[in-house]
């Protein structure tokens, strides 16, 4: 029986090649998208689950309340972990992770490396793999260091690195570390990453004395391993009494709360700010991708259903005969369902091949390293796809075809009921709703991306090279200034400026203070030199820039932006001081500029030359990025490589061995929209694919419609209908559906886009003509697809089509 079905199915598929190719190709493309998206989503959702104790691992974070404002800190005080450990027996273990940059040197090899300082519990709490070394005691001394294989190879080549020494630049001194182990790199799905690990006992050399004791100075991430069966909520409830004891006079109920975040939720928890050591991911992108995968598959399934319905008249005869020969309805249902599943099976196989081919470009697209592995999960997923798609795609043909009465079918009396034609039309409309909505999204997202790239940011972003010193202020400032002075001798350099933070490097410092009227105010802050404003081509609207000739500007002057003036409600800001206790007078007002990405609104901003006196006057400081002076260099036009070589030479003069680390400002700015750029590309591809699949289906349907209406067309032609009128007769049926689909698609697309654009403080308005354009595109594509068949039908000889009766 099964063999008989299989034979019929295979022969049917081979005989109707066009129909089979449309179905299989459409489904295969849909399945390819699904597999790739599944890989991505699976990776996103499995973060940190590889730790065997992941169900008991939490990351502590702090919610501070200050003057009615909430501050959320993902990085925590140095003292938190030991205090928690000694106060609560429920806590089995803790591990702190702090991130630093340091210059490594072994022999002549020297680079700036990213470094993690961790507690010695690191390999007991987490499941990271240690290739060489002792998991229980990974750091025999304070000067032990563990490297990843890659880093070990970089410094020691192929020789065994264990026991070898490497020099690290620790804030002021050079310290010699001895390699005590080799760790495997953290899996892709890990919220903790590392290339080199040193023990936390080195904290003294990195943190100030105050930072080592204070509960208000934040630095490492604190991970907590709870005992078996400990309820984190109950434990959290016990923290306040401990904090009251620790903070003493600083403690007020509710102003300092320690929370526990399950480690496995870290990666996708967008409710907390993305200020931890590693970036988190917004689950929104998983959802967008899932939706896209689902929609493409939906369109392919609809093709399957509508095409089988279109063919049902020819298939009906077989059903009638089979019933006369004794087939029961359920046997017919099984046959058609089996056929759908067979087709899906073939599509899945092709889909897997496509996925294997396209996983690389997809990785580039989403910036991942996903691997297509035929593990149990993957096989299960494919089986599930086969069954679900086969079931959905086959359900309607199976149920409809099996319901035919043999007497009617065999007499040729069969007509698909009106219901089924409405059903078919709504399916096609559904396809177009998706396609048109995607076209609208592609257009609008493209416009916004264009806007982001071309908006006047209020400063000049072209031909600026940013050089990092990678040194704290005390050492970085002198180095930066030396470098700047060196640069000024080079004719190709238009100007150069030293500042704590450069443009597009966000966030700058957030400061908060209470003014004389007891109002809590915040502003953003950067320390710059007098060359900053001219180098960045920032416009002044009032007053003047800092003057290099006026030494007192360094301590008594500040330049602010328009937003600050507006916030304080001043008409003339020049000569004013910030209400409160600041010494600096405002000497100039800059036109607002977007130093941050266009996701954020421009905040009040203060620039000074020497920041120390400002720090002394404020109550709150939020430093998210390390304060390491940077030099911004505006080049004159010329060869990039030659210019960079010149800068490098100047750097070598002042910094010696230290690596020359530079970026281009315009690239830094573009990097802020990396995620959006990816979304834009993905939506573009998805809408292309969905339109392609929908068009294949449409082409098939148009072919069937022409076959179905051959006789009608013949009669009309005999009665004198023109070619034109016949083409429009066939096309009209489909165009009506497209117009209807457009009307449904518009609000859906608008809702999605409004939400997406909501992420930007600076955004375009959605234009009405975008919708019209999308509908127009859809109509043109439909006409091209259907028109071919329609014209063929209109040109055919009516005598032939009428003789068949």
């Amino acid at each position: 029986m099964l063999r008989n079905y299989l034979k019929v199915a295979m022969r049917y598929l081979v005989r109707h090649k066009g129909y089979t190719i449309i179905n299989i190709l459409g489904l295969a493309v849909g399945i390819t998208c699904c597999i790739l998206i599944m890989l991505f989503v699976k990776s996103e959702w499995s973060y940190d689950k590889f730790h065997s104790k992941s169900d008991r691992l939490y990351r502590a974070w702090v919610k501070e309340k200050y003057q009615k404002e909430d501050f959320i800190d993902i990085t925590t005080p140095v003292v938190m972990a030991p205090t928690l450990q000694s106060n609560f027996p429920e806590i089995e273990s803790t591990c702190r992770v702090a991130a630093f940059n340091s210059i490594f040197k072994s022999g002549v090899t020297s680079f700036n490396e990213n470094l993690r300082m961790v507690d010695s519990t690191f390999f007991r709490v987490f499941d990271f793999e240690l290739i060489k070394g002792d998991r229980k005691n990974p750091f025999p001394t304070s000067n032990s260091i563990i490297l990843t294989e890659k880093l070990a190879k970089k410094y020691f080549g192929n020789s065994d690195p264990v026991g070898k020494s490497i020099e690290l630049q620790m804030s002021l001194d050079t310290v010699v570390f001895s390699v005590s182990g080799i760790a495997k790199e953290a899996p892709v799905e890990s919220s903790i990453r590392y290339t080199a690990l040193i023990p936390f006992s080195n904290a003294k050399s990195y943190f100030s004395k105050n930072a080592m004791r204070s509960w208000f100075n934040i630095n490492p991430e604190t991970y907590v391993l709870l005992g078996k069966g400990v309820n984190p909520k109950q434990l959290e409830a016990k923290f306040p009494s401990m904090l009251k004891q620790q903070l003493g006079a600083d403690y007020k109920p509710g102003n300092y709360i320690i929370n526990l975040q399950p480690m496995t939720t870290i990666h996708l928890d967008a409710s907390l700010p993305d200020q931890g050591i590693e970036n988190i991911s917004n689950p929104k992108y998983s959802y967008i991708l899932l939706t896209i995968g689902f929609l493409i598959l939906f369109i392919a399934c609809i093709n399957f259903i509508t095409l089988s319905l279109g063919r049902s008249t020819s298939r009906a005869m077989e059903v009638g005969v089979r019933k006369v020969l004794g087939a029961e309805r359920r046997q017919i249902i099984r046959q058609f369902w089996g056929e759908a599943i067979l087709l899906t099976l073939v599509s899945v196989v092709i889909g897997i091949i496509f996925a294997a081919v396209f996983v690389k470009p997809f990785n580039t697209l989403i910036n991942r390293e996903l691997v297509l592995r035929p593990d149990l999960f993957f096989i299960g997923f494919c089986l599930l796809l086969i069954v679900i798609i086969g079931m959905i795609a086959g359900i309607y043909p199976a149920l409809i075809l099996s319901s035919f009465k043999p007497v009617e079918v065999l007499k040729g009396k069969l007509k698909l009921s009106n219901n089924s034609s409405i059903f078919r039309k709504s399916l096609i409309t559904g396809q177009f709703v998706v396609s048109i909505a995607m076209i609208v999204c592609t257009l609008v997202i493209g416009q916004q991306m264009n806007y982001l790239q071309n908006k006047d940011l209020g400063y000049g972003k072209e031909q600026v090279v940013v050089v990092s010193t990678h040194k704290p202020v005390s050492k970085g400032m002198p180095l930066a200034e030396l470098f700047r002075n060196e640069l000024q001798k080079i004719p190709q350099v238009a100007s150069a400026s030293v500042a704590l933070y450069s443009m597009a490097q966000t966030p700058w410092i957030d400061l908060g203070y209470t003014d004389d009227k007891k109002i809590y105010r915040t502003f953003q802050f950067n320390a710059v030199d007098p060359q900053f404003i001219p180098t960045m081509k920032i416009q002044m609207v009032q007053g003047r820039n800092f003057s290099a000739d006026n030494a007192s500007d360094a301590t008594t002057a500040m330049v602010v932006n328009e937003s600050l003036v507006k916030q304080y409600g001043w008409k003339d800001a020049i000569g004013k001081k910030l209400p409160g206790k600041f010494e600096q007078q405002i000497i100039g007002v800059m036109k607002d500029f977007n130093y941050e990405s266009l996701h954020t609104k421009i905040q009040p901003l203060v620039l000074v030359i020497k920041p120390d006196s400002v720090y002394r006057r404020i109550e709150n400081i939020n430093v998210a990025a390390p304060r390491q002076p940077r030099i911004s260099v505006r080049m004159k036009a010329g060869s990039i490589t030659a210019n960079i070589a010149m800068l490098k030479q100047a750097w070598k003069k002042v910094a010696g061995e230290q690596e020359f680390d530079y970026t281009f400002l315009d690239e830094n700015i573009a990097a802020q929209y990396e995620q959006e750029k990816r979304t834009s590309t993905i939506v573009k591809l998805a809408s292309g694919l969905s339109i392609f699949i929908a068009c294949m289906g449409l082409f098939g349907l148009a072919t069937l419609a022409v076959v179905r209406r051959t006789k009608e067309i013949g009669i009309r032609k005999v009665l004198g209908a023109s070619t034109q009128s016949i083409v429009s007769l066939i096309s009209k049926e489909f165009i009506t559906l497209v117009v209807l689909a457009a009307i449904i698609a518009f609000p859906l697309a608008w809702m999605f886009l409004n939400k997406w654009l909501g992420d930007f403080a600076y955004r375009i308005d959605i234009n009405w003509w975008v919708f019209i354009l999308a509908a127009f595109i859809a109509i043109v594509i439909t006409l091209l697809t259907v028109g071919f068949q329609a014209i063929k039908a209109a040109l055919s000889n009516p005598v032939k089509s009428l003789r068949t009766e």
């Binding site: 022969r11 005989r15 089979r322 020969l325 004794g326 087939a327 007497v407």
Partner: protein
């Protein structure tokens, strides 16, 4: 074997009731060879379909081999049908995607007959109809007469007691038609299969032992 009593079939169109069959009373014994004749629209095919359980009358009683057909459950009726009735059509209605062999095999599949037995039965059938050489061909590769031969073989493969034929020679030329009729006669006489055929041709009708004339859904005469 077949007992039809007061069979009516009508359709309602508008307010009018159009009768397709009107008070048909007919009894057919096992081994009979009946020809049904009549002009187009007189209800011949409808009557055949009612006998073949493909169509239900609006009123009346149908007793097939002692069972009241319209009082049976769907499942039982389907079983009864599968075991005892074979159909031959004017347009052959072979399944295009199946070979001659597979077409003949299909009814056996629906009766859950085991593979080896199936093979034997089909081989026997091919032999008897002398179409062994054509068993791997598809219907489109056969002439009309050959196709109808396969149609008859398929109808008989499950050894039915009753063979219903709706204008079996309607699409054939006279020589091919004659062959099919001779075949029917042979089956009727040698195997004792009861045959009811609908035909337009007096010559073919004469092969039957009894001819029933229908007019406007009524039995006009029997000869």
């Amino acid at each position: 074997m077949i007992e039809l009593q007061h069979i009516y079939k009508w359709i309602n169109s508008g307010g009018n009731r159009t009768f397709l069959l009107k008070d048909i009373n007919l009894s057919i014994a096992e081994g009979d060879f009946i020809s049904i004749m009549g002009p187009s629209g007189s209800g011949k095919s409808t009557l055949l379909n009612v006998m073949g359980m493909l169509d239900e009358p609006s009123e009346g009683q149908y007793v097939f081999m002692g069972d009241d057909v319209f009082k049976m459950k769907e499942k039982q009726r389907s079983n009864l049908y599968k075991q005892h009735i074979g159909f031959v059509f004017q347009a052959y209605h072979l399944i295009d995607e199946l070979t001659v062999y597979e077409n003949i095999e299909t009814p056996l599949l629906y009766q859950d007959i085991k593979g080896a037995e199936r093979k034997a039965i089909v081989a026997d059938m091919l032999d008897r109809f002398q179409i062994v050489g054509k068993k791997d061909l598809f219907p489109a590769q056969l002439s009309g007469g050959q196709q109808q031969l396969v149609g008859v073989a398929r109808a008989l493969v499950a050894k039915p007691k009753l063979l219903l034929a709706d204008e079996p020679t309607g699409n054939l030329n006279s020589k091919q038609g004659e062959e099919i009729m001779e075949l029917f006669k042979k089956i009727n006489e040698e195997d004792g299969v009861t045959i009811v055929q609908v035909t337009h041709s007096e010559k073919n009708a004469a092969y039957g032992s009894r001819i029933i004339h229908l007019l406007d859904g009524r039995i006009e005469s029997t000869q």
